[in-house]
Amino acid sequence: MSDHPYPEPSSAQAANAAVFIAANLQTFGLLGDNNLLAPDRRDEASGIAREFTLGNHFKFGFDGIAFNDRRLAASRYWVEYGAPSREHEGFQREFRRAIAQIHANYGTFSVTSTKSYIASTVAREARDMELDFKLIAIDIEGFNPVRIEDAARTERHSVSWERFCEFALNFSRAGGCSDPWIALEAFHGELSQVPHIYDGAELRLINNNFDTATKVAVGPLDWALVDNEKFTAINRYLLAENKPGIPQILRWSPELIAAQLDSPAYRDWLKRAQHASAASADIRVNKTARMQLMTDSYPGLQVTATFSNDRRDPRLKEQMKLLRRRMRNSAPGRRMQHRYPLSRLAALLGIAIEPRLLAKLDLYGGVHGN
């Protein structure tokens, strides 16, 4: 016989999956004795001290620990969302409530001076509610200055390219992220004297069966909410620096997430995607829905998809490419994703989406209650 361990036999051939899992988890779970790569991982303490989202309902981490850093190249990134405690009241009301709660918790906050659809709508709501907030603008010397929309509220910083690079390299080590544009966004929070609401970490839905290399569908629609590891790089940086901040405003509460997925913009997009041609970008990712939601909610507000679009400086883009290489060499970021099947997320959030639009694949089976 082999010296190696074997699974505990199930008591019956048709044993309940939960029974078999429970009997074998200690040895064959991803953190089990047979599969564990770093013996001390199970005992690692959680590092959270700040409220990144309401009650920290949104959790992230590695190897089953919440709010920790990646320890190994093969560490498994995971995220988790809380369940809503009530029905959502629509995107704009939930978004407004989120910003009011952040203000109530932290007092004066700041947001990046940009036309990006996330930061500019935060500023719009804060202005409408007459909350005390600042806009942070960073001019990098030698490159195009940032456009200022609201001079009275703007705190303008002028920094050298070298100073930003130094920050970006530190950021890549602390956050495990080699994206210089995320580093630049993080730099706004670094220069702000008050908690910053960061631009980014959009609610990105992806069709699992869209082949990005050939740009065609290779199977039936199958939506998942994607959480890229780099979406929480700023959280890890803030934890390392012991600074407060809100890196995922669009995930602030379960109700806010539910309101986005349940909005007419998302529902219309899901319907369109169902009938889109195989080569259409609409069936790959929900960028049009994200933008439409904001233009529906804030008519007349001119927004861009990302804050990097605002910079309009090809020389800066070129320098950022070179910086990305330096950041990668300094601390290679990982590109691990957590994909949350939309059918499971809708169930968690209590959203009734037509099954044909969810495009749930029964193929891979279900997950029963614990």
């Binding site: 016989m1 082999s2 190696h4 074997y6 699974p7 036999p9 199930s10 019956a12 051939q13 048709a14 044993a15 309940n16 999956a17 939960a18 078999f20 899992i21 074998n24 988890l25 064959f28 779970g29 991803l30 953190l31 089990g32 047979n34 599969n35 564990l36 790569l37 959790k59 190897d63 089953g64 190994l72 190249a73 093969a74 498994r76 995971w78 995220v79 988790e80 699992n208 069966n209 082949d211 990005t212 290399a213 050939t214 290779v218 199977g219 039936p220 199958d222 994703q337 957590h338 994909r339 949350y340 099947p341 499971r344 694949l361 193929l363 891979y364 089976g365 279900g366 997950v367 029963h368």
Partner: protein, 175 residues
């Protein structure tokens, strides 16, 4: 050959180190992940990844020498994923791979009724002989990482475990 062929479940760290040179990852074996999502196959989310998934790294030995590797894990409460079937070239076409996969699948009770894998284009016919079929309406998709010369891509294949008569669960021998 069958009588001298043995299968075992081995520690993942060992599996990782042994398969690395065969996957051209010598020196970076630590980057080989225990599981893959497989384009949305994984139905567990959040901490379920750590309290619901079981992973069995499997190897085949012939006269005490390691000649094959695969692994199997559950992607839901009813479906499994076979990943990374590899048999040393000099031992191929002897039924080692098929027997090893059967061993890996027989580690699981019957409530896991389906098994999935991604197959390179050149292996589709081989896996058909093992009882797998291309899942309709899926078609060939690009490699996740680097292209492999002579291969057009990968395709989703599955095998039902419902109707297959299987040997005793822990029989440690080839078919």
């Amino acid at each position: 050959m069958a009588t001298r062929l043995r299968f075992s479940v081995i520690p993942f760290s060992l599996w990782q180190r042994e398969i690395a040179p065969l996957w051209f990852k010598e020196g970076s074996h630590h980057s080989i992940l225990p599981i893959l999502n497989g384009h949305g196959q994984m139905q567990y989310v959040g901490r379920e990844l750590f309290n619901r998934i079981l992973l069995f790294p499997v190897c085949a030995e012939y006269e005490g020498e390691r000649i094959g590797w695969t692994s199997v894990y559950n992607i839901s409460d009813t479906a499994l994923r076979i990943r990374g079937i590899y048999v040393l070239p000099e031992f191929r076409s002897n039924g080692v791979g098929k027997s090893m996969v059967n061993f890996a699948l027989n580690l699981w009770p019957d409530c896991w009724t389906d098994c999935f894998m991604y197959s390179r284009s050149s292996n589709i016919e081989r896996y058909r002989r093992w009882g797998f079929e291309v899942v309709s309406p899926f078609s060939m998709r690009s490699f996740d990482e680097e292209k492999i010369p002579g291969e057009s891509g990968i395709v989703l294949m599955s095998k039902s475990r419902r109707s297959t008569a299987r040997p005793e669960r822990f029989e440690n021998a080839a078919e």
